[in-house]
């Protein structure tokens, strides 16, 4: 009897989720779409299947809507990556050297930038242009990239939003080779001006 109740309960939950359309999900993401800036700490876990190891990297990030993305790894190594529509700039603490990669020379960079921005923006209309989207649960979307470049590496992306739908809580990239890239965002600050000094490389 208990087993039957559990099955019925599960069916009910599934019906709720199945009944949730992308339009409804998009409406719930309105708070996130209104965000102009996001700053957060992150824990980036890269599960490397071939080596059987998990690489955990802690850091902080900042994102301007339709602007720049800052990715500051703090441990176990210190580096800052600033990705914009035009370029990727990488600063490495060990060498104190700044490397610039122009997006005009390497179009994959533009794809990475637009994808990262779109994934973190929660703009479902934009996401639909580049991915096939399904609703996994009340707070999670599952995206299958349709761009050839990403299909080479990524089989699907899972994005979970906070309960208030005002920020991305976790993002998981499932790579074709079995690797998994997991991002967990904490201490999220929304709509606060990002100090210009954060975009300077080498950092002051």
């Amino acid at each position: 009897m208990r087993f039957l109740i559990l099955i019925l309960a599960l069916l009910c939950v599934q019906t709720v989720v199945a009944g949730d359309t992308l339009a409804q999900f998009s409406e719930r993401l309105a708070p996130l779409m209104e965000c102009q800036t996001v700053q957060a700490d992150y824990v980036q876990t890269r599960k490397i299947k071939s080596l059987g190891i998990d690489l955990v990297i802690n850091g902080s990030m900042a994102l301007e809507k339709n602007g720049r993305l800052l990715w500051h790894s703090k441990s176990p190594l210190s580096s800052i990556i600033i990705i914009s529509a035009d370029s990727l700039r990488l600063w490495d603490a060990e060498t104190n050297q700044v490397t610039t990669v122009s997006a005009s020379r390497f179009p994959w960079l533009k794809l990475i930038y637009s994808s990262m921005s779109e994934w973190l923006s929660g703009d479902i209309k934009k996401l639909e242009n580049s991915s096939r989207i399904t609703i996994k649960d009340k707070h999670t979307l599952e995206l299958v990239p349709e761009q050839e470049f990403f299909l080479k590496f990524v089989s699907k992306v899972e994005i979970s939003f906070t309960s208030a739908y005002d920020a991305v809580k976790t993002m998981i990239l499932f790579e074709n080779n079995g690797d998994i890239l997991h991002f967990e965002y904490k201490n999220i600050i929304l709509n606060q001006t990002i100090p210009e000094s954060r975009w300077l490389l080498p950092p002051k």
């Binding site: 980036q44 890269r46 490397i48 071939s50 080596l51 690489l55 990297i57 850091g59 990030m61 990715w71 790894s73 176990p76 190594l77 580096s79 990556i81 990488l90 490495d92 060990e94 490397t99 610039t100 990669v101 122009s102 005009s104 020379r105 390497f106 179009p107 994959w108 990475i112 990262m116 470049f149 990403f150 080479k152 590496f153 990524v154 990239l173 790579e175 080779n177 690797d179 890239l181 991002f183």
Partner: protein, 326 residues
């Protein structure tokens, strides 16, 4: 002393003979002048290689010779400026036709316009295959397990997929070195091509470029350059309205140099005529004998060129200097 006396005696006799037979002397001079003229115009082979302007061992001469050896003159970039965003995309079919016409010209060795699938070819892991072409073996000095681990962590820190695949191709992070140098190259060249189009265009696709590699040319050979440019220009007679063509090549300097030298010669000649005229009327008071002053060096030059035209394969005249190739 005896020889000097003999020379003086012979020259005196020749002078007396000349004075006594002035008509014969004039006729001889006239015939000589005619021969010189015929020789100058029919036997002379003239060139204007700027290299011959410089002394053989001069630094400038060596620099020019080095430039000639480098075959820098062989590259011509044709820039098609439409003046409007995505204008190059609109004239793409015309550019294709032009490229196929230009490729058939006898002096064109190869032509670059269409690009391969750039997005695929420009992937970072593809760069690693260029390492042996760009760097010597010393690049391996830091290729050790510690570097590989450090690079793996650096790459893993990036919020992008495909790290393991990239690390397998470039475990020591050599591609970063290429990235830096490519940026320097971009800054030095002052040009940036957009790979978003499968032909060479700038970022907003307002301009497109066709790169021609010509058969070996000599820097400074203005006559050849003029012929080449004339043939090239004939190929874009049907240029779409509003499109401007810019020729970017060291060869344009060859023509520029020649024009500068020519204009200098014209300016100096005009001033010489003006001042000789002033001298003729003011100082020599219209005495026609004063005309011998410019006439003698002109006739002498003509004789010399005529004789040289018979003796030498090529005479190069640039400005007031003559250079001979026996």
């Amino acid at each position: 002393m005896v020889i000097a006396a003999k020379i003086e005696k012979a020259s005196s006799r020749a002078l007396i003979f000349a004075l006594r037979h002035r008509k014969i002397l004039w006729l001889f001079c006239f015939i000589l002048l005619v021969f010189a003229l015929v020789s100058t115009f029919f036997f002379g082979s003239y060139g204007n290689d700027i290299k011959t302007l410089f002394p053989k061992n001069s630094d400038a001469g060596k620099a020019l010779a080095s430039m000639q050896r480098s075959q820098a003159a062989n590259t011509v970039v044709l820039e098609f400026d439409t003046g409007q965003k995505n204008g190059a995309v609109k004239i793409e079919p015309w550019l294709d036709q032009l490229a196929s016409r230009l490729e058939k010209l006898e002096f064109v060795n190869s032509l670059t316009f269409r690009l391969s699938n750039f997005a695929e070819d420009a992937a970072p892991e593809k760069l690693i295959s260029a390492i042996p072409l760009l760097y010597d073996v010393t690049i391996l000095d830091n290729a050790n397990p510690a570097t590989a681990v450090s690079q793996m962590l650096r790459q893993a820190a990036m919020p992008v997929p495909g790290v393991v695949a990239r690390h397998r191709h470039d475990p020591f992070g050599f591609s970063l070195k290429i990235f830096n140098e490519l940026e320097v190259l971009k800054d030095l060249a002052g040009m940036e091509f957009s790979p978003e189009h499968l032909f060479i265009a700038n970022r907003d696709a307002s301009r497109a470029a066709i790169i021609l590699d010509l058969n070996p040319l000599t820097i400074g050979d203005a006559a050849t350059v003029r012929k080449i440019f004339s043939k090239l220009k004939a190929e874009w007679k049907d240029l779409p309205v509003g499109v401007q063509v810019n020729i970017i090549s060291p060869l344009t300097h060859t023509l520029g140099n020649e024009e500068t030298i020519k204009s200098d010669i014209i300016r100096i000649s005009l001033f010489s005529i003006l001042f000789l005229g002033i001298l003729f009327f003011v100082l020599y008071r219209g005495d026609l004998r004063a005309l011998w002053i410019p006439l003698i060096p002109i006739c002498a030059s003509l004789f010399v060129v005529g004789v040289m035209a018979v003796s030498f394969d090529k005479i190069r005249r640039t400005g007031g200097m003559q250079h001979l190739t026996p």
